[in-house]
Structures are given as C-alpha cells and as structure tokens.
C-alpha cells in the first residue's frame, strides 16, 4: 500500500536529525511534527516523548531520520542514520534526505519484517504547520455523526488535523531554550505572542467581574414585585423594545461568564456576540450623534402633529364617503351610519389625545432618543413600537371590520353550499366594504413593521466575527483541503502541497447563526395575504414560542 508522509514545510531547511511525529497505521501515513537535532541522548529523547504523550494523549514517537547535507553525500552519515533505526525501533523506519539545493528529495523506508519485496510507493505531502494547527475542520453539513464510530474509521484528514492541533506543547520549546533536546518546528525561532492580546487578556478578568456585578444588579431590579403587577408584564411582553433589551442582557450574561468555552462552537458564539454588540453600540452612538445635531429632534416633533392631523382628516373623509353611496353601490343605510359614527368617534378621541400630548412630545422624543446609545437594534425597536402605538386606532378599525367581514364570508360560503344543493336563497347583506380600503392601510403598516423587525433580526443573528474571520484569516475555518502537484522527477516520490480550503460564506452564516427570539412575519407573505382575504385576524405581536390562537 502507498505510504503517505506529511512533512511540515517549515522543516525543509532544518539541519540533519531524527523525525518525530505520529504514525497512523490504519491509513499507512506518518504525520511528522518536528525534527530533533544532533547531539542528543536517545534515553532523554524517549523520556521527553513519553512526557509529551502523557500530556497530549497522542502517540508521538520517533519515525525516521532526516539528512540535509550541504556537502556531497557521505557514506558514514547514511550508515549512522541507519543504525539509529535500531535504537529507536519503529516499523517502518522512514529516511528522507535532501541534497544541497535540489528540489527533489529522496525518501526510502526500511522494513525489518516486510512481507513483500516490492518497493512500496511513497507520497510526500507538504503542509503549513501553523495554519493546520489553527484551523478548525468543518465536516459537510449533511453527514450524520454516529456515536459508535471508532477513532480509526474517522476521516484521514480529521485525524491529521487533530494530531497537529493537540500537539501544542511540543511547539512550546524553541531553539533558544537550554534543554537537552533541540527541536525544529514552526515556532522554533521563538514563540509568537502579541502584546495587545496579552494585555487584553489581563484586562478582561476584572472587566468581566464588573459586568457580572452590574448584570446581577439589573436582574435584581427587574425581578422586583412592583414590576410584576398586572397589566405591566403583559405590556412588557408586547413591546418589542423590552424583548430586545432582554435579549441583549442575555447576550451580555453569556459573554461575562467566567467559564471558558468548551468547544469551537461556543467560542465562536461568544466572539460573535461580542463583535455584534460592539458594532451595534457603535452604530447606535453614530445615529445618536447625527440625530442630536441641528435640532433634528425638534423638527421631528414639529412634523409629527401635522402628519397625525392629516391622517385623521383623510380617514374622516374616507368614512364620510363610505357612509354615503360609495362608487354608486347601495348600502345598508342603518348599519353604515352606526359603524361610521363609531369609527368617527374613535378618530376624534385619538386626535384629541395627540393634541393633548403635543407640548410634551419633544421632551419625550429627546429622552427616548438617548436610549439609542444602547444599540442600533434598540433604536429600531423603539421606532417600531412608536409606529405600533400611533397606529393603534387603525388596528382597532381593522379588527372590527375584519370580524364583520369574516362573519359575512362565512355566511356567504354556507349559502353557496346551500345553492349547490339546488336551494336558492339570496340574502342581501352587503355592508362592510369599508374593510377593503382599511386593509390596504393595515397592510402598509404591517409591511413597515415587518421590515423593521426583519432588519433587527438580521442584525441580531448575523455572525459578524465569523464573517470577518473568514475574510481576514480564511485558514481558521476550513471545509477541507486541496492538493497541488509539485514538480515531479522520475524515480523520486510524488510531491504534493496540501493547502486549506476555506469554508464558503453561506456555510459560515448557516453554521454560526445566533438564535433570535422572534421571526416576523410569523408566516410567509403569501399566507399573510391569504389571511387578509379570508378575514382571519393577523396578530402583529405574536412571537415564536407563544401559543397560536
């Protein structure tokens, strides 16, 4: 069978020595992790390897010898290297040698107990050690993980990635350490670290403790009995602002918890929440600084009253038209008058209420606008709630009209069935054509609210950190590997370069999406229109998880 040797590209220029790594016998492949240089004492090397094995739980052993001779090939050196094979007994003993500046290496194996005399073929695969160590392999989304798979049956690539990722302790010693063992690997020129990252790690512990304290204070206040008096809980659950604030509080709790993330998914989730919160607050502060300049709040408050007046006047005109003979249709006069006067009174009440509030609107808007510093999503939720509150009267009209229309439709449909049974009875109950026009206005409000909620959901659930990671450090999220065939020479082993194949953006979003609390509209747009047509009520405040009527 073909022997595969995974060689780290950072060791290509290393001095002669012996190779250490992991031998995966089921796949007949050797993953080389580092090169140990001369001089060394075999007993110390074996002790070091057993220590590493205990910590990392990977069977690291001496796999073969590596010779990088700048001069002509020496016979004594090759004999010495073969003798090493007897000291570190390993089947098969791999010998790789590189001559001067030649690109093509020679690779051979020594088998003591070989069944066949045929030379088995060797494939040399170069890999970038740092990238493979930091990368996280994502299996294809449609594979079902079965729990009774043994580690041997796992895919070759996953085994190889795991080997490199778990051998971090091996990469901690660099060539400036005064130990008995001198290793060459990707960090042998000095352990990489960043001052900013270290400083942030030190600063994050007290910051997390402060955050936890503040959050416990906030949740203690929220749980007080005073706020649980009915109808306040009903009100909190209907306003989307409170839902969004609760959602963000939950996120903050996830970030500020002291437990370290268990696995990749949890770590990415924490990072995504953190980046998303940061950008949200930044955008919110930007919006606030734009809004509070040049007295925009004052202008907004000034235009609000005339707009409300205009809408009320239009509605009154519409009702007057309907109470007469709209489009030449003959209506049930008595019912028309009753419904029309009922709705006109509603509008009158609403307009008086708006006029009553008019001196305070600017102040209310000013203070409510301050909450935009909590995040752009909170500002959008407040906007959506304001729209809902201002158009509440339209919702009332819609409910009355829709219920009556629904009754009419049921009546007509039962009569249609009767008609099909060859009994003809015509009932002229033709009121409620006003619900058609009201539906248009209602649809507009529902669409605007739906768009705002969609935007909030999008901002909430988008995994920004994962997308930025995929953009800047694409090797961290890998969907697989790709091989490139390097220059070949006849008689020498096949040389391949293994590179990381990054995950596509769609899969990144799908894997690392943050769960949201609502999905609006509750049903798709087609069922929304269907509900409007048949007169079923649309509940704009129903959230995921609540029982449906």
């Amino acid at each position: 069978m073909v022997l595969k040797v995974f060689f780290p590209s950072c060791c290509s220029s290393a001095e002669s020595g012996i190779l250490i790594g992991r031998w995966i016998s089921e796949q007949n492949s050797a993953v080389i992790l580092a090169v140990v240089h001369f001089p060394f004492i075999p007993a110390q090397v074996k002790q070091y390897l057993s220590e590493v094995q205990q910590v990392t739980k990977i069977k690291v052993s001496v796999l073969g010898s590596w010779s990088n001779s700048k001069q002509e090939k020496e016979e004594s050196l090759s004999e010495f290297l073969e003798d090493l094979g007897t000291i570190f007994s390993h089947e098969p003993w791999i010998q790789i040698s590189k001559e001067r500046d030649s690109k093509f290496w020679s690779c051979s194996t020594l088998q003591k107990q070989s069944n066949s005399s045929k030379e088995e073929e060797i494939i040399l695969v170069y890999y970038d050690q740092r990238k493979v160590m930091l990368s996280h392999l994502h299996p294809p989304l449609d594979t079902t993980p079965s729990t009774d798979h043994k580690a041997n049956d796992a895919s070759k690539l996953a085994a190889m990635f795991d080997t490199v990722a778990n051998s971090k302790i091996l990469f901690m010693t660099d060539r400036y350490d005064d130990g008995p063992i001198k290793l060459t690997h990707w960090q042998s020129d000095g352990v990489e670290a960043s001052i900013i990252v270290e400083l942030m790690k030190q600063a994050s512990v007290p910051a997390c403790m402060l955050l936890t304290f503040l959050l416990s204070l906030t949740s203690a206040i929220c749980k007080r009995r005073m706020l649980k008096v009915w109808p306040l809980p009903f009100l909190w659950s209907k306003l989307s602002t409170c839902e969004q604030l609760g959602h963000r509080l939950q996120h903050l709790q996830v970030i500020s918890s002291n437990k370290k993330a268990q696995n990749q998914i949890q770590l990415m989730r924490k990072a995504n929440i953190f980046v998303s919160l940061l950008i949200d607050v930044a955008l919110g502060i930007l919006l606030m600084s734009w809004l509070y300049r040049k007295n925009r709040i004052g202008h907004l408050a000034d235009t609000l009253i005339p707009v409300a007046d205009h809408v009320a006047k239009e509605l009154q005109d519409l009702l007057q038209w309907l109470m007469g003979a709209p489009a030449g249709l003959k209506m049930n006069r008595a019912l028309d008058q009753v419904l029309g006067r009922f709705f006109l009174y509603h509008i009158h009440l609403w307009i008086s209420y708006i006029h009553l509030m008019s001196p305070f609107i600017e102040m209310i808007l000013w203070y409510v606008g301050l909450s935009a510093c909590l995040g752009l999503t909170v500002a959008l939720c407040i906007l959506s709630d304001i729209i809902a509150l201002l158009t509440f009267h339209i919702y009332c009209f819609y409910v009355y009209g829709a219920r009556l229309y629904c009754l009419k439709i049921y009546g007509l449909s039962s009569l249609w069935r009767l008609f099909r049974g060859k009994k003809w009875n015509v009932l002229r109950q033709r009121v409620d054509s006003c619900s058609y026009d009201l539906d248009q206005l209602r649809l507009l409000v529902v669409v605007v609210q739906g768009l705002i909620h969609l935007l909030v959901d999008l901002i909430d659930s988008l995994p920004l950190y994962s997308i930025i990671l995929r953009l800047c450090r694409s090797y961290r999220l890998s969907a697989g590997v790709k091989f490139r065939v390097l220059e070949q020479k006849h008689g020498k082993p096949l040389r391949l370069l293994m590179q990381i194949n990054p995950l596509s953006y769609g899969s990144v979003v799908q894997t690392y999406r943050l769960p949201t609390y609502s999905c609006y509209p509750k049903d798709s747009w087609t069922s929304l229109c269907k509900k409007l047509f048949f007169g079923e009520l649309i509940y704009p405040w129903k959230h995921k998880g609540e029982k449906q009527d």
């Binding site: 073909v2 089921e26 073929e121 079965s146 798979h149 790709k482 091989f483 065939v485």
Partner: protein, 190 residues
Amino acid sequence: MEERRYRAVSGAPIALRRRQHSASCWELAVRGPRLQLRSLSAVTSAVWLAAYGLFVLSESSMVLSAAIFITLIGLIVYLHFVKIDQESLLVIGSLGIQVTSSYASGKESTTFIEMSQVKDVVINEAIHMQKVIYYLCILLQDPQDPQGVSEVVPLFQSSQPRLDCLMEVYKSCQEILEQRKTAPQSSGIK
C-alpha cells in the same frame, strides 16, 4: 502529458489533457471553449443600442450611464460566477479525488473527496429532453450500509463531454481505483 480534442454534448469543441504524475496519480483536465469576442461584442452592442433608443425617447442621460454600469457589472458577474473555463480531476491513489472548477476570472473552486468515502466512479445515462446523454459521476459510500450509495457527485457538468472523452477519463480513474482492491487489506476501513 497528452492533449486531445473532442466534442461536447452540444457540439462545441473541447480538449482533454491527461497527465500521469506517478503510478498512483492521474490529473485529467477538460477545457471548454473560451469566451468569444464575437458574442461579447454582440451582447454589448445590443444593450447599448437599446439604451440609446431609450435615451432618445426619455432625454435622460442616466439611461446611458446605467447601461454602461449594467454591462460592466454583468460582465464581471458572468466571468466570476458563471463561465467555467476548465474542469479538472486529480485522482491520487489512497488519498482521494479532487474536483476543481476554474472560472474565467481565475477563481478556482475545489472539493476533495477522501478515498474511504469513494465507492466507485461510473458513467451514467440520462434522458434529457430528446437526447440520451452520458455523464461521469463518483458514487459515495454510505457509512452505515456497505452496499449502499449515499450520494452521487456528477463531474464535468459545464463542459459535458461526449462518451468517447468520458471513456478515457473512466479508464484512468479505474486504473487507480483497481489498486485499492489489490492492495493488502491493512486499512481495515469497511
């Protein structure tokens, strides 16, 4: 390394390049026809004539700049996401099969399938409209059922070579897959 000319299902000329890197490694690349200058100029002139007609009717120069914008964006999207220049198959015995599609803008999209997941490489028949066409595909092993097939991955979907070209590719692939069966059973992967 050899290159031979064949025809695609639609009649367009394609070229197959076969290269054997070692006894257990074959690289097979099918190159489709390049983007023709003729068709590109025809489409561009049609779009710009229509835009000029609209400009004469509406007297707004926005139409012209919009047409230029649309042409540029459309060309970039076509070259980067639609037009596949070359599809290649790299079969490495005991490692796996790698399928690469290279787009006209230089983008390459690669998938690597490990040898333990590959059950077989076969030529399938399909009835499409009024024709019967042949296509090469990789059958993936179902991990639970050793006789079952969990997925079929079709190859060379955009260049669509005819049966004679597919036979060459099939022979090279089977040469390497045969080695899998004759190798001593030290892998133990069932």
